[in-house]
């Protein structure tokens, strides 16, 4: 036996080369689902050990040419358990039934740069999300589509503005100052997920006189991806899994694989969806029950003029007090949206050339006037085998993404709607134009006069357009240098480009109410960004699969070179000539920022699969150098090791049990420019360029942050594949934290770039999948995932410091980095009660921990019910804990306009022992301010906040349960479609979907997932006048023909 095999090995090369000359026969058959017997399309049938293969049609049939003799076929489809079937030499038909893989144990996971591994052997917890899961319910961005589907990740959208704008954080806060987003890699090409500020700050003045601000509600560029183009998303969470991505991977790696063509005649599919968005939850408005309270609110900031304005309104309405819910009025549109997608896939019969082309358009209607997002995507992916040894791929994707996002978030001009409404009493009518089409002047927010602002007028006339044109392309060539039955040596070269231009244009006409305020009516902003990322990879992989030995060996080695370049240019013009919408007229100032980063790396990985594929061992090493490091020639190395072992059928009902463990390191390079010590620009003075002090001192020794993570877990599968449990515990530390170390401001400086300190994350991820019912015509699959992460700064060799852009000072709560404390802790002013030496109560204010933005845990429930041709899919997300700074609530209370303002104060009936409630003339005065026990709730909250001395008044629990997704789909019977639509229609589905249909929460604001700051690693807890989130319903029809 051994001799024969060895002989075969020797001859394998010759045999393979000659393979095409051998006699062939045709094999055909049909693939069906076990149990239901329904035909399965898109099933891959591959001759084991070769590249010969075919895919089934939608009717489940296949046909392919194979060599004579006994063969074995590998049959696989995503969502089904893989089968390898032996076909005797005499046979030429083969029908195959596949079992549903409800536990998601099948499939291929990526290990490192391009190595792959059967999922069942994976030694790390890798999350795979199939394309169907991403595109089942329309989403405004890939971030939104991934919400609740990646255990171990926190994904939130910053607002409800059309076009997305979200953040993904994998396994906790991994950096304070460095990049805190995952690395996104699409088909091997590193893709930009930059969040570029629009320049809306020119109107809102959220950051005062700055040119743009992270409070502009930017879109992160992941929004350019079309989820329907995606075959699969894999999330490499831990450091061991992501280690081969080196110094850009501390926050994990998201690998996106787009759909590829399949051999055979062209197959078309067309999807059409129509739907609408509407306001999920407004914050409401106080309804005034009596004139006394109305006059109090009316005169709060505008005094007698406000009171007079109220009396005018009161009289004009027949001595009644009108009520307007501004949120429902401004954000009350039913935003019409649609999604149309056409895709064709095919290839030559032998599979030598395959292509997939798709084109799609998605309109997301905004819930406020003149807001929407329109995205066009087109993609062509081509695979071509030039010979049996050389194959090439060419992928081209283009996107145009146009969004009109209105104004929102923090504001200093009353132009952000919620900010405005907080100070405008509900008896003011803002949305009704007079006979001349003029909007009423807002007598309140901004105090009337030139400061007044009417958001209805603003949204009707303002333009805040973001136009992105993006090109993603890659080409690769792979050469099989050696292929024997035991040895396979392959070289691959891949080059990719991701280029986009983002054009933000803002125009605020000079007749808008607030425009006269600065004496320069009319504002126009032109903000242009060009981004180009290039990457190249040259790699060699060597697989050694001896048939006579119980192990196989795979080695991958390669080098990469990556380049990122970003250039932004912003011009603001004020004092415009009427009707001129561009920046040609008026006062202007410009800023330009340019960054360029170049990274080079090498990597090597070696893996062993042994003992009947039960033991998997892998080790890898990556070396990185970057233009951003202080030392540009040093390669920083990141090792990783992984191991797993499967116990198969050792206990009854436990089909398989796998133990896995891994350890690895990844890095996070410093930001561009940190290594330079420079003079500070101080603008112009009298036409002369002024140079001063750069208070953020550079450091020529900066280096990457380093994350070291150990991960342990097990995967169990039992009861015939009907129960699966995956559990993972990880423990990571990030050392050499990249920080801006505070310096005493009395040195004339503020900070210095610095590496030091340690951050630790520990967490648990559990996913339980059960299939309680599996019967003919009815099945129920339920999946529950749970995640919990604890974060702590374990070592900080420098002074604690508040992190910029994480809040608005100690009055409202912000992030502070301090030893022994979580980075997600919210620090703010809090009254501390003590006893004096004489025994009397005394109180002082301390800036201390008042909350934590990190949830206690998050749980995602997904249930899929199949009844005949009907499928119902439900996804519920539950977040327990996670505090927010509800500054929106503070604004509404300050304006005396919160919807619950008149509810009784919690002090009503309280005793003196309750320290939040102090009687006006109480003997033991405990609070900094007397809060009357008879006050209304709004007055109580605001008084309790005490001008910012007690931030706890507005730190609120953000727990929620959200009906994230719901899908009901119906597969139209083939007989029916073929009769009425023609023979060519093979697959027609109807579906009704909903996203974010309902939120259950006690949180005061519009949504506990919003965030005022567009992209930041810590401080994702500030709710300040967001664009309110939406809910969406849609109806769709999918055709396959």
């Amino acid at each position: 036996m051994g001799l024969i095999r060895r002989g075969a090995t020797v001859c394998a090369l010759i045999v393979l080369t000659a393979g095409e000359l051998l006699a062939q026969r045709r094999v055909s058959g049909k693939v069906t689902e076990e149990g239901s017997g329904s035909p399965l399309g898109n099933v891959s049938i591959q001759l084991v050990g070769t590249t010969i293969g075919a895919y089934t049609s939608d009717a489940g049939t296949y046909s392919l040419m194979v060599p004579n003799g006994a063969i074995s076929l590998r049959v696989r489809r995503i969502g089904y358990q893989l089968r390898t079937v032996l076909l005797p030499a005499s046979s030429s038909t083969l029908d195959i039934a596949l079992k549903k893989d409800v536990l998601q144990l099948e499939g291929i996971v990526v290990t490192g740069q391009q190595g792959t591994l059967e999922r069942k052997n994976a030694a790390t917890a890798v999350v795979s999300v199939g394309g169907e899961q991403l595109s089942a319910v329309p989403s405004n961005s890939l971030d939104q589509a991934l919400q609740g589907k990646v255990v171990g990740a926190r994904i939130n959208l910053n607002s409800g503005a059309p076009g997305g704008g979200g953040q993904i954080q994998i396994r906790g806060v991994t950096s304070i100052l460095g990049n805190g987003q995952p690395l996104f890699v699409i088909d091997g090409v590193v893709m930009s997920n930059a969040s570029i500020n629009s320049g809306a700050n020119a109107i809102t003045a959220a950051s005062g006189g700055s040119n743009s601000s992270s409070q502009d509600n930017p879109t992160n560029r992941l929004a350019d991806m079309n989820p329907a183009e995606i075959e699969d998303v894999q999330v490499l969470k831990g450091a061991a899994a992501a280690s081969l991505y080196g110094s850009r991977a501390t926050n994990g790696v998201v690998l996106i694989t787009t759909k590829r063509g399949k051999a055979g005649t062209p197959r078309w599919s067309f999807t059409q969806r129509v739907g609408q968005s509407s306001l999920l939850r407004g914050v409401g408005q106080r309804q005034f029950r009596d004139t006394a309270s109305a006059i109090e609110a009316a005169s709060a900031s505008t005094g007698a003029a406000g009171a007079a304005a109220f009396r005018r309104i009161y009289a004009a309405n027949g001595n009644t007090i009108p009520y307007n819910d501004f949120n429902k009025q401004l954000f009350g549109d039913k935003g019409f949206g649609y999604n149309s997608a056409l895709q064709v896939s095919g290839g030559t019969a032998d599979g030598g050339t395959r292509y997939l082309a798709s084109i799609s358009r998605q309109l997301e209607g905004g819930i406020a006037r003149n807001t929407n997002a329109l995205r066009d995507n087109a993609r062509i992916n081509i695979d071509h085998n030039m010979s049996s040894r050389i194959s090439a791929k060419l992928d081209l994707g283009i996107t145009r993404n146009n969004a009109n996002r209105g104004l929102s978030n923090n504001d200093n001009t009353y132009t952000s709607p919620l900010y405005n409404f907080a100070y405008t009493p509900s008896f003011a009518t803002l949305n009704q134009v007079d006979a001349n089409g003029n909007y009423p002047t807002n007598d309140w927010a901004g105090g009337g006069g030139t400061s007044s602002s009417n958001p209805f007028q603003t949204f009707n006339y303002i333009k805040n357009t973001e136009d992105v044109n993006r090109f993603l392309g890659s080409g690769s060539i792979s050469i099989q240098a050696l292929q024997t039955s035991a040895n396979r040596l392959r070289f691959e070269y891949l080059a990719g480009i991701d280029q986009f231009s983002q054009d933000n244009q803002l125009y605020s006409p000079n007749f808008l109410q607030f425009e006269a305020n600065d004496g320069l009516p009319g504002t126009a902003v032109q903000n242009t960004t060009n981004s180009r990322q290039l990457n190249q990879r040259l790699s060699v992989s060597y697989d050694f699969t001896p048939s006579d030995l119980p192990f196989s060996l795979a080695t991958v080695a390669g080098v990469t070179m990556e380049q990122q370049r970003l250039n932004t240019f912003l011009v603001t013009a004020r004092g415009l000539i009427p009707t001129v919408t561009n920046i040609n007229q008026g006062t202007q100032f410009t800023t330009q920022g340019k960054t360029k980063d170049v990274d080079q790396a090498w990597y090597v990985q070696q893996s062993v699969l042994a003992f009947d594929e039960k033991l998997y061992l892998s080790g890898s090493l990556r070396g990185d150098r970057s233009s951003d490091n202080g030392n540009r020639s040093t390669y920083y190395t990141f090792p990783a090791v992984q191991a797993s072992y499967r116990f198969v059928s050792v206990v009854p009902q436990l089909d398989e049990f796998k133990l896995r463990a891994s350890w690895g390191q990844t890095g996070n390079r410093p930001t561009y420019g940190a290594r330079f010590i420079t003079l500070g620009g101080a603008g112009l003075f009298g036409g002369v360029n002024a140079l001063g002090v750069n208070t953020a001192l550079g450091n020529p020794n900066v280096k990457p942050e380093r994350k070291t993570e150990a991960e342990y877990g097990f995967d169990a599968r039992g009861f015939g594949g009907r129960v699966g449990l995956e559990a993972t515990y990880f423990n990571s530390t990030i050392t050499d934290l990249f920080l801006q170390r505070p310096l005493a401001n009395s040195t004339g400086l503020a900070t210095e770039f610095f590496n030091g300190g340690t951050l630790a994350n520990k967490g648990t991820e559990v996913a339980l999948t059960i299939e309680p019912i599996r019967a003919k015509g009815f099945s129920w699959v339920s999946r529950t995932s749970f995640q919990q992460i604890r974060n702590r700064v374990t070592k900080l060799p420098i002074a604690p410091f508040a992190v910029g852009s994480t809040g608005f000072g100690s009055a409202y709560g912000r992030s502070r980095i301090a030893e022994g404390v979580s980075t997600t802790a919210i620090w703010g002013n809090k009254p501390i009660y003590t006893k004096t030496s004489g025994g009397a109560d005394s109180v002082f204010t301390r800036d201390t921990i008042v909350g934590d933005a990190n949830p206690d845990f998050e749980t995602f429930f997904t249930n899929t019910f199949v009844v005949g041709r009907l499928t119902l899919n439900l996804q519920l997300d539950w977040r327990k804990g996670g505090d927010l700074s509800s500054m929106s609530n503070n604004l509404y209370d300050e304006g005396l306009n919160s919807r619950d303002y008149d509810a009784p104060s919690p002090c009503r009936g309280a005793t003196l022992s309750d320290r939040q409630c102090v009687q006006v003339n109480g003997v033991n005065r405990l609070s900094l301010v007397d809060v009357s026990p008879t006050a209304t709730l709004g007055a109580y909250r605001y008084a309790y906040w005490n001008g910012g001395s007690n931030s706890t008044a507005y730190i609120q629990d953000g727990s929620f349960v959200k009906l994230r997704e719901i899908t009901l789909s119906y597969a139209v019977p083939a007989k029916f479609t073929q009769r009425y639509l023609g023979q060519r229609f093979s697959d027609v589905r109807l579906n009704v979907t909903g996203r974010n249909l309902r939120t259950w929460t006690k949180y005061w604001g519009a949504d506990p997932e919003v965030n005022n700051f567009g992209s930041n690693n810590v401080g994702r807890f500030v709710d300040l006048a967001p664009f309110p989130p939406t809910k969406n319903v849609s109806f769709g029809i999918d055709f396959g023909f």
């Binding site: 070696q606 150098r625 401001n745």
Partner: protein
Amino acid sequence: MTSSFAATLQHTIRLSDGMIRHAAASALTVVLLAGCSAEALTIPNYNAVATTTTPDIALIQNLASGIMAIERGNIGGYYNDTGVLGRESLNYFSTDGRTVTNYLTVAQLDNAGFASGGWNGRFTAMRAAMNFIAIVDNAAFLTAAQKSAAKGFAKTFRGLEVLYLLQTRDSIGIPVEIDLEKNETKPFVSRDSAYKFGLALLNEGATDLAAGGSAFPFTLPSGFSAFGTPANFLKLNRAFAARYGVYYATLGGGAAAFNAALTAVNASFINAAPGADLAAGAYWNYSSSAGDALNPLSIPVAPDQVAHPSIVTDAQSNGSVRDLRVAAKTRTIPAKSPPGNAGIPSTVGWSLYPTNTTPIPIIRNEELILLRAEANIGLGNLVAALSDINFVRVNSGGLAPLAPFLNANDAITAVLYEKRYSLMWEGSRWVDVRRYGRLNTLPLDLPTHFRIRVQPVPQAECLFRNRLDPSLKGVGCP
């Protein structure tokens, strides 16, 4: 057993062999491929000038303008803070009530709040001046006189910054030195030491300016048109020495300081001749050109800045004619309140800076005359003081001249009134009433209001110092 062992051994050998061959192949590949040039990594800084740039005459100009640009950036906050604390102005910034609460109504000053300002920018300006001196010292292309002039200019500004800063922290003292090389934190020094340090810097600057030849190796902006040469700039230097000499004299400097101040003021650009221009002086000028700055206190830029109502009610009259300075500097506006209705509506707006490019005064002739009066009061020369007080009172306020003072206290009351109205919203009143122990003459508009004696040291500074040697903490960081 044996055969199994042999097989395992053989397998292990094969495995090791395979691994070694693979490792060798990969190592070779990596070495071959890693030959990529490191030159591709040489990316410059596109956005800023390296500190190591070789200086030339243009850089000297840029750095000189830099010192002034940073100082100009500090003035708005200083006049706002001292204005609110001295009950001259109210910042009813419409979208953040903390511009009121952090200054007037909170029982404990928030060191992370708005009233903790006036700190970072002062030190940055001092550092910029010191950097400038270091670069000038090593600039071979400058003559000795040019170097001296440039250093005198920078020392004047550094001294001015020390003394500005001292006004905001007064009795708790301030750090005055900066470690340019190692950036080490320097201790707080007492108010007395800080005054001596700042005044010594001004005096050194004066010496340098006197040896500065006929021209600076750079040009000054238009607000300094009267001080464009070292000789004229020396007069400005002496004006600052007069202001802070008088301040110091009332805070422990005594007669010696009053005498020094009197000498300084007479060496300044003071002019009390009939018809003298009271507005003559140094100004920060603004421009709406791209990159330049706008007047941060002007009506268009800061429409929410209002005047304290007591400015109108406390004004004296000449018969039926109210102090002319009220009408010259303020205007009547519709009642304005801050968000959250702090209960102190004001109907008095500012008219000091009508456009966004109106210059802001740094020091003017009018102040110098009143400083001379103060010095004379301090030295017991009440008659000389009366002459200067009446000169301003009549020419600027349109009021009747005062009769001779009965005592120094009356004279102080009189000069403080004139300073309040002549130097309205120019950073004088809060400092003046505090110096003379008259802080309680500031009105409390509501029972919850209180009077701040000093601004708190910012939290960031304290967080940093609290880790250091206790001697570096200073009284400002509890």
